[in-house]
């Protein structure tokens, strides 16, 4: 760039900023995007892989290194790189062998799992990886002193709930947990009832092994110094600097169960929450990978047409409705609200076309229906929306109470709420109030069921339809804060929960999904979310699996495949 060009650029930038300030001063905050869909390849870039190199990625700061405590995607992203469980999920979400030598030997009644470990497993520090390490890992998640946030996933393991729910630590309760190392390479897990999804759970972070040779008890504090830990994943944690980032180097003792070992010398992650900053760092060549802010989507898609990737995020968002509120008990009212939402327009206006409009609660890849499956029943239809409201006793909105839409304070959350408010006024002639609060307040009110309308949703923990239903839509479920209570759903949940016939079980969950969606039982789904990423053209192997799997970087469930091309 010549000097004159520099000055020209400077002047243009000054002019642009001046114009920006002028518009801001006029109070014009209309942020409509055109929602155009650019070409978005879903395959990772390919090229001639080289041995070595450093991959620089944007990440969010993990709140904990402890896999038996963690709940945030940023934690799990890192933990998947440095620890692995007995099994691992492949690109199609099918369990594959990881630390186990074979798939579990399951007793006839489906409650006892016997698992043999692969031969010659070692921790990164050279110590043998034994069945006791897995026993301790599961017991640590059940330990009330650790207070792990994902203990509920292991509720099927005998004694886990009793130990976790005790007011104080009790060694007898820990000893009674249904997991034991029979010998150095054999692990036996006992469930209270058959659980067809349990092999998938043995691929998740809360069942990762604990390097028992470094601890004296399952409840010991988890070190934050990488040098005090040992790893059995493809990478070892080299450095961890809170607030700044971490670096990973290949684990010399990685067992490579699927035959894939890291080719990179190092992965350097920088913690950047402001994605506008990350985008600038990407432009400046300081990052090879970054997540993309949906508010910059169109700009970045245009700027980097060959480096922009879109993958499914295993999340559904919708308008949640408090069914204890008298007026929302009426199905006609819920249908009226749902049919007043133009999901395509919402997607275009708020996230520049970045998500997948949907009327189905469970995504198809997790055993639900296609996104447009229930368009006829609950999708946008102005005439039917008005009719439902009239049928409920509020013709043209007359006499309808003013409901409050409780929303967080991020720009996209506020834009969503304002879009809904406008839709309800335009289509149904009813007034609503938007209340914007900070994240913690919003969550607190949701937990305490102090809301009427609430844009919210769910992100799956594991790729199975039960994770979209259990506790969420059964009467009295611990996460059922909108108080969905439907005898048909409850009856089907009872049948499906411990159904050992997998085909039948999946069909039952599909039926439940239809009931949740078409009866707007606590939520009117409006979209499935997508992840948007920029990946430099010299990066290979960042292939995401079909459902995203709670990831915060492309293909981070299989990080050993990441590499650089010449």
């Amino acid at each position: 760039m010549s000097l004159s060009k520099h000055w020209k650029f400077l002047l243009l930038t000054v002019a642009a900023l001046t114009a920006l300030f002028a518009f801001a001063a006029c109070g014009d905050d209309d942020e409509e995007g055109d929602g155009g869909e650019s070409a978005t390849p879903t395959e990772a870039p390919a090229g001639a892989r080289i041995d070595g190199g450093t991959l620089r990625i944007q990440a969010s700061e993990p709140a904990s290194l402890d896999p038996h405590f963690s709940s945030f995607a940023s934690d799990i992203h890192l933990q998947r790189a440095i620890w692995r469980g007995l099994y691992s999920l492949d690109g199609q979400n099918e369990p594959q062998l990881s630390m186990a030598a074979d798939f579990p030997d399951i007793s006839e009644d489906g409650t006892v799992y016997t698992i043999t470990l692969a031969d010659g497993l070692l921790w990164s520090d050279g110590e043998p990886l034994v069945a006791k390490d897995f026993e301790w890992g599961i017991k640590r998640t059940c330990n009330n002193l650790v207070a792990g946030e994902y203990q509920y996933v292991l509720t099927g393991v005998v004694g886990c709930d009793a130990h976790y729910g005790a007011a104080a630590f009790d060694q007898a309760l820990e000893d009674a947990i249904g997991v034991k190392a029979v010998d150095a390479t054999t692990l036996e897990i006992t469930l209270a009832q058959a659980q067809p999804t349990f092999t998938i759970i043995l691929a998740l972070w809360m069942t990762f092994p604990m390097p028992s040779h470094l601890f004296t008890a399952t409840g010991d504090a988890w070190p934050t110094d990488p040098a005090l830990l040992a790893y059995n994943g493809p990478y070892s944690l080299e450095t961890f600097t809170p607030g700044q980032g971490h670096s990973l180097v290949p684990n010399p003792n990685w067992s490579a169960p699927q035959g894939v070992s890291p080719t990179l010398d190092k992965i350097v992650a920088t913690y950047i929450d402001d994605l506008a900053v990350a985008a600038n760092a990407y432009r400046n060549g300081e990052l090879d990978f970054t997540d993309v802010n949906t508010q910059e989507l169109e700009t970045l898609r245009t700027e980097f047409p060959d480096e922009y990737y879109k993958f499914l995020h295993p999340s559904t968002r919708g308008l949640e409705m408090q069914m204890n509120v008298e007026v929302l008990k009426d199905l006609d009212v819920r249908l009226a609200l749902s049919k007043a939402i133009d999901r395509e327009a919402l997607n275009t206006v708020v996230v520049q076309g970045g998500n997948e409009p949907s009327t189905s609660w469970i995504p198809e890849v997790d055993g639900g229906h296609p996104p447009d499956a229930f368009d006829a029943e609950i999708g946008f239809n102005e005439v039917e929306a008005k009719q439902h409201l009239a049928d409920a006793g509020f013709p043209d909105g007359a006499g309808f109470p003013n409901l409050t839409i409780l929303v967080g304070n991020s720009p996209s959350a506020v834009a969503t709420a304002e879009f809904l408010q406008d839709a309800f006024k335009t289509v149904l002639n009813i007034d609503t109030t938007v209340e914007s609060v900070d994240g913690a307040t919003r969550s607190d009110r949701f937990t305490n069921q102090e809301f009427e309308l609430f844009p919210g949703g769910w992100l799956h923990d594991y790729p199975d339809p039960e994770n979209w239903v259990l506790g969420l839509f059964d009467t009295g479920g611990s996460l059922n804060n909108y108080n969905c209570s439907d005898p048909d759903i409850d009856a089907l949940v009872d049948k499906a929960r411990f159904n050992a016939d997998n085909t039948e079980r999946l069909a039952q969950y599909k039926e439940i999904n239809e009931l949740i969606s078409t009866r707007v039982c606590g939520i009117a789904p409006y979209w499935h979310e997508n992840d948007h990423w920029l990946v430099d053209s010299n990066v290979v192997g960042m292939a995401e699996n079909i459902s995203g799997n709670d990831s915060s970087a492309a293909g981070d469930w299989n990080m050993e495949a990441w590499g650089l091309a010449s």
């Binding site: 760039m1 900023l17 976790y164 920088t270 402001d274 600038n280 506790g471």
Partner: protein, 335 residues
């Protein structure tokens, strides 16, 4: 003087107690808690977490030692700031120390830039009163004082990093593991070695943070210098035949410094403690970023720890300025 310093130090105790108590009560009065999640935690998990962090006890009660407040004050009396509720298994004191090392480097660098640039501009403006250089100085002061530092930071990044490629966008380039508490340690002195600084990462954040105080210092220096230059003793100094440089440096600048020093102390504290936005724009792992995040995360441990730390820091900075007055203006004496 010693008695004065001791008295001021003793007064800091009730000051800190009041700040701790008010912050503690306000913090708990706000809706939401450290474990409020978009996906609510199961009840058993919440109970265990509350027990682990003593949140199962009342915030304050008649039996004060069996309350959260009592627990916190007891720990504080033992110089224990507790654990972060968000960054698990990390001591608040460690997080503050690590972050403050960076914030201090950034704040002091910006302060040095602001003092040198602001004083020079103010003096030049005053000496060229109503001349072209004065107008340039006034223009800079106006622009610098009215542009928020996060806007300026973004502006600098787009021009000098993304377009020109002269500087980096991410991170801080000061020496790591700076042992700023211990002048006897060799690690204390590493900040004085230019080779230890990566200027590709230092220049833009320092400019973004330092321009506003530089503009403010320039305005105050100009006004103060204009007032001093019209004093009789300046005319006397000139009539005695002193060179213009001697008049300006020895008589004008020194006497113009008192009002400037008044704002320098609080500004130094502001630059060290108020760099949150610049830290965010440049992804600098300072304590300011942690402090603001802790409020949104309801990280009670970090909120209390950083508040106490900032209060103490500002109190010491103000004490330092008061002592400097006496050095600059011999008429000021403390007893």
């Amino acid at each position: 003087m010693t008695a004065y310093i001791i008295r001021r130090l003793i007064w800091m105790v009730p000051l800190l107690w009041a700040v701790v108590t008010i912050t503690f009560l306000l913090m708990h009065a706000v809706e939401g808690g450290p474990f409020s999640r978009e996906r609510p935690l199961p009840e058993a998990a919440l109970e265990n977490l509350n027990r682990k962090y003593h949140l199962d006890k009342p915030v304050i009660s008649l039996d004060v030692w069996d309350s959260q407040y009592g627990h916190y004050m007891w720990d504080l009396a033992h110089f224990d700031l507790g654990q972060s509720f968000y960054v698990q298994d990390r001591e608040v004191s460690t997080l503050i120390k690590d972050g403050f090392e960076t914030s201090l480097q950034l704040g002091i660098s910006a302060f040095i830039f602001a003092v040198i640039f602001g004083l020079a501009l103010g003096i030049i403006s005053a000496l060229n009163h109503n001349g072209p250089l004065d107008y340039v100085g006034v223009f800079f002061s106006m622009v610098g004082a009215s542009m928020p530092n996060f806007i300026l930071g973004t502006f600098l990044i787009v021009i000098f990093a993304v377009e020109l490629g002269w500087f980096d966008v991410l991170g801080w380039g000061g020496p790591e593991n700076w042992d700023f508490w211990n002048p006897l340690s060799p690690d204390f002195w590493k900040v004085f070695v230019p080779m230890n600084w990566d200027f590709h990462k230092v220049v833009l954040p320092v400019l973004a943070l330092g321009v506003l105080p530089a503009a403010y210092f320039a305005r105050i220096t100009r006004a103060s210098m204009l007032e001093v230059l019209s004093q009789d003793y300046i005319r006397t100094a000139r009539s005695k035949g002193l060179s213009e440089w001697a008049v300006i440096l020895r008589h004008a600048v020194k006497n113009a410094m008192v009002p400037i020093l008044t704002v320098m102390g609080p500004y130094l504290a502001f630059l060290v403690t108020g760099s949150f936005l610049v830290e965010t724009v440049f992804t600098i792992p300072g304590v300011g970023q942690r402090f603001v995040e802790s409020v949104f995360q309801r990280d009670y441990g970090m909120i209390m720890g950083t508040t106490i730390f900032y209060t103490a820091f500002i109190a010491f900075a103000n004490l330092g300025v008061d002592l400097l007055y006496a050095f600059v203006d011999p008429r000021i004496r403390y007893s």
